[in-house]
């Protein structure tokens, strides 16, 4: 059978070219995505500052179930989602660890962002942390008092400072004057050192450390020490943490895993990239099944006569199925052989795309192992076998008599299994839509993504009946009565709905996919921009990100400036909501007093002024509705560092999108976030204030933007985010578009004989072309209509999730060019294929054997 398959393959290279191309493209995409995924997974920030650290004890960075929050029991299942904010642990633990035999030193390390003169930012640590690298003094002495600082050599050089130089530095707890006591040299990013006690005071929570770094005594056995430290941690239970709140478990880290302590932001970025790449690869594989199954099914359908002949001369249905499977295998192997190496190259293109979209973690380099190639080749085999199975199911059912063509009655084969699955999938899509609409909020928005994929699957399965209905609906519209070409086109569409479906289905997939991806992005961006506009009533915004942040005393200073009517700070953080196994990370803000005076949050109930004390929270009204909470109710969630929280709802506000669904007092946010202080201060100017003078004063605290500039920045960020995603997934849309071209060329080229009959019957080339144009118009209208419909439903459900209105936005400025490009693609490829088919002499063409 394999020989037969090979024989037919060799002689039918042209017929298989389409399937081959589709499989090869899919393999390139999947292999490329695989290389990206592996590279991202293997990206680890280098360990530099902690290169002298043998072990470290840190709080687990995974969400944990605690007795207070737990549903069910079971220790083993407590591992949950990654925490977005650094969890801290009691600094006092260091003294107990230091007493473990074999431990030379145990240092409670804290990272304190400081602002140095000249707009420089740096991370400050206690001088005791210097031995973790180690940093060694090259001049001067170690810092002893709160007024002393040690700079690393590059910083000292940049500032032109040496021992004795006086500096003004900004810290999260306010500005202070320090004297350089010494210069040190070590490894890693810029670091400055304060007296240990001073670093502790400036840390977000004075008695807590980010982690405890351990160095071993010479000759100590790391394994034994590790075990002893673990035993100590298990024993430390009651003293470790706050029993009323519960605390994350402590872990012992060493080697490469220290990177997450040294550069938490890089680790978070890496982990954020993994799902993006995975979604890309998954979407590529998912669409590949459609495109490959489509082209494969089409190439099999064109061989009805040959398969009937084989059946007549003694091929059993099983042999036909095996032959098709064997052909698929050969196509897949050939395609993989070509496409896998290309896929490794394509990874570089993808990396470019991700880089442009700002979605690459720091330290990313492309890693090429054999694994993505195997996955790519494996998916080529799998996808073609699925496609072959679907195509063969129909082919094997062909009766041998069907070889006689017109003399035998053509049976209508209803693929019951396929249609059954199609109807089920359609029902699944409808159910998903209902669920998404019902859920609302973030859950509703994220579940709406499933709608597009489910409905795409349904369309692929039900392509033929959909095309039949579509032809009946739009056929008359596109081809009004009159004209031979129109009449022919209409007859063709009705007689061969399979041909219409072959074009309409990939068109629908392309449109549905690209519109959903694009317009989900623009919907988010538009809503962010609209709500930011509604929210921002401040005259100026002072931005402290990239520096030490804005200390609470900065807000007080700003408030005291002449011409300031009100000022309030905010800091971005996150909370987690849901269950341990399936927690949703949500944006949140820590806010200072007076927020209501600088920001119109659209408070619907309660009062933001009540947002005082550790156990209060204000909720976005849509989120509160989804959670069924009102003012005065208590709500449970996790703070960003995994601390379980139960807080009283003091206010509900409408303008939450792009800001955060949880507002908490700044002190709470600072104690449970990586960042401390404020990142922005919103300032409302008093009427008649001297704006120039005010701006100059504000500029001393941070980067100053007026309202318009701030909103422009919000809009730029939002649009950039929207396009970044679309940009990456655009590669998949291009792939489905190539699938469209592929099918059209195949379908048109195979009609040379039919065109010859028409030509001999007196149809001019121009009339044949006109007929084709009308046929394409019908197929395009059906495909674009269905694709748009799918995207419309998906976007509606998504919009309902984030705004509460079923309000699918498809900006014509993007949608219309997209549709125009699709139509151009269909016409261009189809008419080009037709021209080459029409170039042959009709008498010769009609005599050509299939």
């Amino acid at each position: 059978m394999l020989r037969l398959a090979f024989g037919t393959l060799r002689a039918r290279l042209a017929g298989f070219a389409g399937a081959f191309l589709a499989v090869a493209l899919a393999t390139v995409l999947v292999t490329g995505a695989g290389v990206m995924l592996e590279s991202v997974l293997r990206t680890h920030a280098p360990v530099e500052r902690l290169s002298g650290t043998d072990l470290a004890v840190a709080a687990s960075d995974k969400l944990e179930r605690t007795p207070a929050m737990g549903k069910g029991s079971g220790e083993g299942e407590s591992e949950g989602d990654k925490l977005q904010q650094t969890p801290r642990l009691p600094a006092g633990l260091a003294a107990r660890i230091a007493a473990v035999p074999g431990v030379q030193a145990a240092v409670p390390d804290r990272t304190v962002p400081v602002a140095l003169p000249g707009g420089l930012g740096a991370e400050a640590h206690g001088w005791d942390s210097a031995q973790l690298t180690p940093y060694r003094l090259t001049a001067g002495t170690a810092p002893q008092t709160g007024g002393q600082i040690v700079l690393d050599a590059p910083t000292a050089a940049a500032l032109g400072a040496g021992p004795g130089t006086k500096l003004e530095i900004g810290t999260p707890k306010g500005a202070r004057s320090v004297t350089v006591s010494g210069i040190a040299e070590g490894r890693g990013a810029t670091a400055v050192f304060l007296a240990p006690q001073t670093a502790a005071e400036l840390g977000a929570v004075p008695d807590r450390a980010d982690f405890i770094g351990i160095t071993l005594a010479p000759g100590a056995d790391a394994k034994q020490v590790r075990a002893a430290v673990k035993a100590l941690l298990a024993d430390a239970g009651p003293q470790f943490g706050d029993p009323t709140r519960g605390q994350p478990k402590a872990q012992v880290l060493s080697g490469g895993s220290l990177a997450r302590l040294e550069a938490p932001a890089a680790t978070t970025a890496q982990e954020a990239t993994v799902p993006v790449v995975a979604v890309f690869g998954g979407s590529a594989a998912f669409t590949a099944i459609f495109v490959v199954a489509g082209t494969f099914g089409f190439s099999i359908r064109q061989r009805t006569r040959e398969i009937g002949l084989l059946r007549a001369v003694g091929a059993t249905p099983g042999q036909v199925r095996r032959m098709i499977a064997a052909e698929a295998l050969l196509v897949a192997l050939a395609a993989a052989a070509l496409a896998v190496p290309l896929g490794y190259g394509f990874a570089h293109v993808l990396a470019e795309l991700f880089d442009k979209a700002d979605a690459l973690p720091p330290g990313f380099t492309i890693v090429k192992s054999w694994l993505p190639g195997v996955v790519g080749a494996g998916s080529a085999l799998l996808v073609t076998q699925i496609a072959a199975f679907a195509a063969a199911a129909r082919a094997a059912k062909l009766r041998p008599t069907e070889v006689f063509g017109a003399t035998a009655k053509r049976r209508i084969l209803v693929p019951l299994l396929r249609y059954g699955l199609g109807v089920l999938t359609l029902a699944g899509g409808a159910a998903l839509l209902a669920v998404s609409m019902n859920l609302g909020g973030d859950d509703g928005a994220s579940s709406s993504i499933g709608i597009v994929f489910t409905l795409m699957l349904a369309v692929a399965l039900l392509g033929l009946p959909i095309a039949r209905v579509g032809v009946a609906l739009v056929g008359r519209l596109v081809n009004p009565a009159g004209g031979a070409a129109g009449r022919l086109a209409r007859a063709n569409g009705a007689a061969e709905p399979g041909r219409v479906a072959a074009v309409a289905v990939p068109v629908a997939l392309t449109i549905a996919f690209s519109c959903s991806v694009l317009f989900i992005g623009t919907t988010v961006a538009d809503e962010t921009i609209a709500q930011s506009k509604a929210r921002t009533s401040a005259t100026y915004v002072v931005d402290g990100t990239g520096r030490a942040g804005l200390a609470p005393d900065a807000v007080d200073r700003i408030r005291a400036l002449p011409g300031v009517a009100a000022a309030a700070g905010t800091v971005a953080t996150t909370v987690m909501d849901g269950s341990v196994s399936d927690a949703l990370e949500l944006d949140a803000r820590g806010v200072g007093p007076d927020t209501a005076a600088v920001m119109d949050l659209g408070v619907r109930a309660g009062d933001l002024a009540d947002l005082r004390g550790p156990d209060t929270v204000a909720l976005g009204s849509r989120h509160a509705e989804a959670k069924d909470k009102g003012v005065g109710d208590r709500i449970r969630y996790w703070l960003g560092d995994g601390t379980p929280m139960e807080a009283r709802v003091v206010a509900l506000y409408d303008n939450a999108f792009g800001f955060g669904d949880y507002l908490m007092p700044q002190e709470v946010a600072a104690a449970h976030s990586t960042a401390s202080g404020y990142d922005k201060v919103f300032v409302t100017a008093a009427p008649g204030a001297d704006r120039a003078a005010l701006t100059a004063e504000l500029a001393k605290e941070g980067r100053v933007m007026d309202r318009a500039a701030y909103l422009d920045e919000v809009a730029d960020d939002a649009n950039e985010g929207a396009w970044a995603n679309a940009f990456i997934l655009g590669a998949i849309a291009v792939f489905t578009a190539l699938g469209v071209v592929n099918t059209i060329v195949m379908a048109t080229a195979s009609r040379a004989r039919e065109f010859a009959v028409l030509r001999l019957a007196g149809t001019t080339r121009r009339q044949v072309t006109a007929m084709l144009r009308r046929e394409f118009a019908v197929a395009a209208a059906v495909g674009i209509g269905i694709g748009t419909g799918i995207a419309w439903l998906t976007l509606g459900a998504f919009a309902n999730g984030i705004t509460g209105r079923f309000d699918p936005a498809m900006p014509p400025a993007i949608y219309l060019p997209l549709v125009a490009a699709t139509v151009a693609l269909i016409y261009g490829s189809g008419l080009l294929a037709a021209r080459s088919a029409l170039r042959r002499d009709p008498v010769e063409a009609i005599g050509a054997r299939d």
């Binding site: 024989g7 039918r12 002949l309 001369v313 003694g314 091929a315 070889v403 054997r849 299939d850």
Partner: protein, 256 residues
């Protein structure tokens, strides 16, 4: 109403002695008001070593008869015995396997797989059956149809008559009980057609094969030992040792 066909045809007494036997075979396409009765009860047994032509006007059920008799299609009612086996109880795979070894086919056109050479086309049924082709036998069969020199040619390199010869060789290669031919000369010019008919006559006379041929051409029918006439789904007449004129005469009467 003419005499019932059974009276004039050899009674299908023993399916065992006949190469092919049909008993009360009916075939209905479609359902309800749109049902088409293609065969309305056909009884027939084909003697081994004979050449039978089946004739009838368009729509008389000739092709349906051939499909049912050859096991390509299943009858709605009645029984079909292929090599003594009732095909009704066979699965599609079992039926294919039986057909593969006991029945050969020659169609009007599109007989050959374009990507295979003449020899590969001839050995195709053997390969499908999983048996190793006996080279000597294959060469002999190709010799019988006069294509020993063309074994390596692809169908596109052969004339229409040569293609039909390859098809006949393929039909004979499994040493079938019966060779069915559906309008085998329909797509050929007169001279080539005559050559193909002569070849069919020869395989019956010289090698003892059994041939059943559907045709609408009285001249083609005249090559047979016996002509069966189908009309309206029934066997209505038979003619032994026919001449072209006699066949044409009957046909004119039937259509008139």
């Amino acid at each position: 109403m003419r005499k019932h066909a059974t009276a004039v045809i050899d009674a299908p007494a023993g399916a065992g002695t006949a190469a092919i036997a049909l008993r009360g075979v009916t075939k209905v396409y479609g359902r309800g008001d749109e049902a088409v009765h293609a065969l309305r009860g056909v009884d027939l047994a084909i003697r081994p070593g004979s050449f039978t032509a089946v004739m009838g006007p368009s729509g008389s059920g000739k092709s349906t008869f051939l499909h049912c008799a050859a096991g390509l299609d299943r009858p709605t009612g009645g029984q079909v015995f292929l090599a003594g086996t009732d095909i009704a109880g066979l699965s599609e795979t079992k039926l294919t396997e039986l057909r593969r070894t006991r029945v050969g086919f020659v169609f009007q056109a599109f007989n050959l797989v374009g990507s295979l050479t003449a020899e590969q086309n001839v050995t195709l049924p053997l390969r499908l059956a999983g048996t190793r082709p006996d080279k000597k036998w294959v060469r002999e069969v190709l010799g019988r149809v006069g294509l020993a020199q063309r074994a390596g040619h692809r169908p596109a390199q052969l004339s229409g008559g040569q293609q039909q010869r390859v098809a006949i060789a393929r039909a004979l290669v499994t040493r079938p009980d019966v060779l069915f031919a559906d309008e085998p000369t329909g797509a050929l010019d007169t001279k080539t057609g005559r050559e193909v008919l002569g070849l069919l006559r020869e395989v019956v006379d010289t090698f003892g094969h059994t041939v059943v041929m559907v045709t609408h051409d009285p001249v083609a029918a005249s090559y047979a030992d016996r002509v069966l006439f189908l009309a309206d789904g029934r066997l209505v007449d038979t003619l032994e040792n026919p001449s072209a004129e006699a066949v044409a005469d009957r046909m004119i009467h039937m259509e008139g």
